[in-house]
Amino acid sequence: MSAVTQLAPERPWEAPLRRWSLWGALAAWPVLIYLTWFVAPDWSYAADVTAPLTRKMLFFHPASAWTTGIAYAVVFAYSVAVLNERNLAYDAPAAAAAEVGWVFNTIALATGTIWGSVEWSRTGQHPLATVYTEPKVLVVLVMWFTMSAYLLLRRSLDDPHKRARLAAIFGILGFAGAPLSFITSRVLTRSLHPDIAGPGANPDAAVDGTVGAILGFSLLAFVLLFTHLWLQRLRLQRLETALAVGCASQDSP
């Protein structure tokens, strides 16, 4: 096989899903911003809230973290398929999901760092030190570094088979951080990170009806955006491959 990555042809569901997810995201994001500012509660009157405006991040930070988990689950599934079936056609969807997932991971880390540095405090400790000694944040940071290594690795290897295999291993390792980050704050009692949903959620951090509904809607808006970006990135990869194949066939005697 040439040095060009083998890529499966576009599946029939990809183009409509790419289009509809774009329209969905374009409709959902303005609604999410409206709900955040005009429908969500005003926390400036809450006695236990240090930064009421920054708390609006509740409708963006958890959704970006959950979408990261979904994206890395896609990477995991396609990476297992690459290793199991030794089929390079599964490599491109994994790479596209890893890149978009990494963007959402960066958003989750950046927004969480800013929010945590103003909401959490430990006596005699710098706010950033408080955030980055938090087990859940550390797990997510390790996940971010693993996926950064995944993306850098892909750029540095030319052999498509070797690149797919090694990337798949990093993809599987990177995804391991998603369930681990879910568990850490539930198992470790000294954790400052609140768990707002799922089994073992903190009763004082539980979300009420309106906030819960907006939170669910924010997840929908993020997933729609992820779906579109993932499929769009995959389409670009197909175009790049088609061009590379065209150039290779023109160069060959």
């Binding site: 930064a51 009421p52 405006l53 920054t54 609006k56 991040m57 963006f60 930070h61 970006s64 978009v100 963007v103 960066t106 958003i107 950046a110 927004t111 800013i114 929010w115 540095s117 103003v118 955006l225 970006l229 769009q232 990135r233 670009l236 175009l239 790049e240 061009l243 065209g246 150039c247 023109q250």
Partner: protein, 51 residues
Amino acid sequence: MNEPTFFAAFAALFGILALYLLRIDRRAARLEQQLSNAAATVKNPDETESS
């Protein structure tokens, strides 16, 4: 509204998203250019070779 973390958090969110969208858009534009160049080469190979 004396809460710099509020602005920082939203700047991080929309800044990172905007940077990524810009990157994808530039890549698509570059690919389109390469495709149109390739199409021109296929259409008129002699002219492209002589130039």
